[in-house]
Symmetry: C2
Subunit: 132 residues, 2 copies
C-alpha cells in the first residue's frame, strides 16, 4: 500500500500521515526501490484507531496514551476509563458554553431589524455598556 492508498482508506491527508510518522504515532514503514513508503495492514489499523480517536475529540497526547494502553491487552482498562470520562466532562463543558453563546447571538439577531449600523442590535450586543 502506498501513502496515497492509505490516505484514501482512512480519509486522511497524505501530509497528515507523514506528520503522524514524524510525531512517532505511526512506525516508519519500509520503503520500495523508489523510496516510496510501503504500508502494511498493521499501519492501516493503527491509523484508523488514531483517526477515530481524533474524530471523537481526543487530543494527540491522549491518543498517544490510548495507543500505549491499547497495546497492553492484559492491563486493566481503568486508565482508559479515566481518560474517556474526563473527556466527556470536557465535551459537556464545551456544549454548554456553545449553547449559551448561541442563545445570546440568536437573541440579538432576532431583535435586529436590518436597518443602519447605528440601530443594529447585533453591534449593540458587542459594544460595551457605555457605547450604547
Amino acid at each position: 500500500m502506498k501513502i496515497g492508498d492509505l490516505a484514501k482508506l482512512t480519509d486522511t491527508r497524505v501530509e497528515t500521515i507523514r506528520y503522524y510518522e514524524k510525531e512517532g504515532l505511526i512506525p516508519a514503514p519500509s520503503r520500495n526501490s523508489g523510496n516510496y513508503r510501503v504500508y502494511e495492514d498493521a499501519h492501516l489499523k493503527r491509523l484508523s484507531f488514531i483517526r477515530r480517536s481524533r474524530d471523537l475529540g481526543f487530543t494527540l497526547e491522549q491518543v498517544r496514551t490510548l495507543l500505549k494502553l491499547a497495546d497492553n491487552r492484559d492491563a486493566s482498562c481503568m486508565e482508559v476509563d479515566t481518560i474517556a470520562a474526563e473527556h466527556i466532562v470536557e465535551i459537556d463543558r464545551k456544549i454548554s458554553d456553545l449553547t449559551l453563546l448561541r442563545d445570546q447571538l440568536v437573541l440579538s439577531v432576532d431583535r435586529c431589524q436590518g436597518d443602519t449600523i447605528a440601530d443594529c442590535k447585533i453591534i449593540e450586543a458587542l459594544a460595551p455598556a457605555r457605547m450604547k
Copy 2:
C-alpha cells in the same frame, strides 16, 4: 491609562493587548516619557468590543470585519446580520457534532466493565471494524 489598567478593565492579558496592536486591531496609543503605552477611553471601548466578540466565538478575522462595519454608522447592517447568522450556523454544527460524539463516548464508557484492555468497550469503540 497604562496597559496594565486596560488589561484589568477588559479582563485581557497585557500580552494580548500588545498582540492586538501588532495585528492592527487596536491603534497604537501614544507613549509617555518612559515609553509606556498610554490609553484613552476610545481604546477601552474598542478593546471591549473585540473581547466581547471573541467571547461570542467570532474569529479575529470576523472581528476585524465587524469593527470596520461598526465604524460606519449610516451603512446598513445587512453584512453584520450575515456574519452573525453564519456564525450561528457554525455553532449549531459544532454543538450537534459534540452531542453526537458525547453520546458515543458515554455509550462505550457505560458498557465498559472496568476489566482488561482486551475486553474494554472504549478501546473497542476506537478500533477499526476488522480489529474487533
